[in-house]
Symmetry: C2
Subunit: 210 residues, 2 copies
DNA sequence: CCATCTTTTGACAGCTACTCTCATTTCATG
DNA sequence: CATGAAATGAGAGTAGCTGTCAAAAGATGG
């Protein structure tokens, strides 16, 4: 009816024939819901898009939409980079200066996120700026990333991952990255995100004292 | 019926007889709604407390509740410290080291917030930990504080307040403060918040380098 | 003190995100 | 193909939130 199910993706179900039909269908449904949502949001805006519409276009029932995503914001936002980032962090040599590690891993995470679908990245950050609910949800998920960062930092520095110091340090990084995304989106995605990221890490490293 | 309207507050309407009856009633209603909410939340928890219950106890209609607070979370969270903080920031001598200024102002803001009502501070931070919606809303309001911080930093350093560097720096501070509150609440408010604040500012100043 | 104008309020209807339950369908397995 | 498990859809229900409109309460001028 709408060709949505043929939407290409780096992880299309066809790539994993080892999975049962059930699993493959689930992945397909998930993708259909997300694709439908992106399309509708681009057409009408986030608030004007209802779950019912999404369900209709994705050719599932509204119940199913909620079975796949806990909230409407999650449909737009959910990604699964955290484990990947964690893996990269661990893969870096232990004697590498921490800031270099951070720089490297963040750059890599960004290029990964962009590759998946540049346009989606833009839509996401755009929504972050425009829709308070989405921004909030984004911050939520960032704080999850934060606890993960704590873990990595603790491993590297031998500190307690639950110590105030580690947690504060991690969250200041998260806050900084968050703001960088907002800045990028607010300025119409004109800048090269990687350059912004570099500047951000400079501030984190040396403070504002240029 | 419940003595709510007699709730003491540093800014009770009786203190400002210069205001018309209309204005005084508005302030009273606002306080009644908030007090009713705090009480109900303490009794039943946040989620179990409905707007209808709040309205009933505050002796207003549900419509009125929404006229005073845009969302349920706002009833619990809204405070008006930002302008005060801003004022304090400006009042510090321009040649004082920035970190000293920050330290002083934050300490002052905290003691101000505590004085108003220590128990409310605890309930608030407790809800921040327990209720995702409240935490999100809190982060939202923190980002407002963030743009205010940008202004102050820009004034002090002569930089552009919309520059990436200033915004990133401000948000890293906000993130850090946020996490400090969470830490405090998660650990059952056992620590002295001022001490935590000092440790946080140390991390911001010197990084994690012990 | 009364009449008039304005602000505030309450009642009500309506929308939508989200939850829960249960019967039906769809896939997996021996 | 039969049996069991998982996924789905339908429907009812809750609650946050919006908007409208008429009634009530405070402000104002004569």
């Amino acid at each position: 009816m709408n060709g949505m199910t043929a939407a290409p993706s780096p992880f299309s179900p066809a790539d994993r024939p080892q999975l049962g039909l059930r699993e493959r269908k689930k992945i397909k449904t998930r993708e259909a819901i997300r694709t439908a949502t992106y399309a509708l949001v681009k057409e009408q805006g986030y608030d004007a898009t209802t779950i019912e519409q999404i369900a209709e276009r994705a050719e599932v029932s509204p119940s199913t939409v909620f079975r796949y995503f806990p909230t409407k914001e999650d449909i737009v936002l959910t990604d699964e980079f955290d484990p990947l980032i964690m893996e990269e962090l661990r893969a870096r040599p232990a004697d590498e200066p921490w800031m270099d590690t951070l720089r490297y891993v963040m750059q890599k995470a960004v290029s990964l996120g962009m590759k998946e679908d540049e346009e989606v990245s833009r839509l996401r950050t755009h929504l972050m700026v425009q829709v308070p609910a989405v921004r909030s949800r984004m911050m939520e998920s960032m704080s999850v990333t934060g606890t993960m960062l704590c873990e990595a930092i603790a491993e590297r520095t031998g500190r307690d991952q639950d110590s105030l110091e580690v947690r504060v340090y991690a969250m200041s990084i998260i806050g900084a990255l968050m703001e960088t995304s907002l800045y990028w989106a607010e300025n119409g995605h004109r800048d090269d995100f990687k350059v912004l990221l570099d500047r951000t890490l400079d501030v984190l490293e040396h403070g504002l004292s240029e």
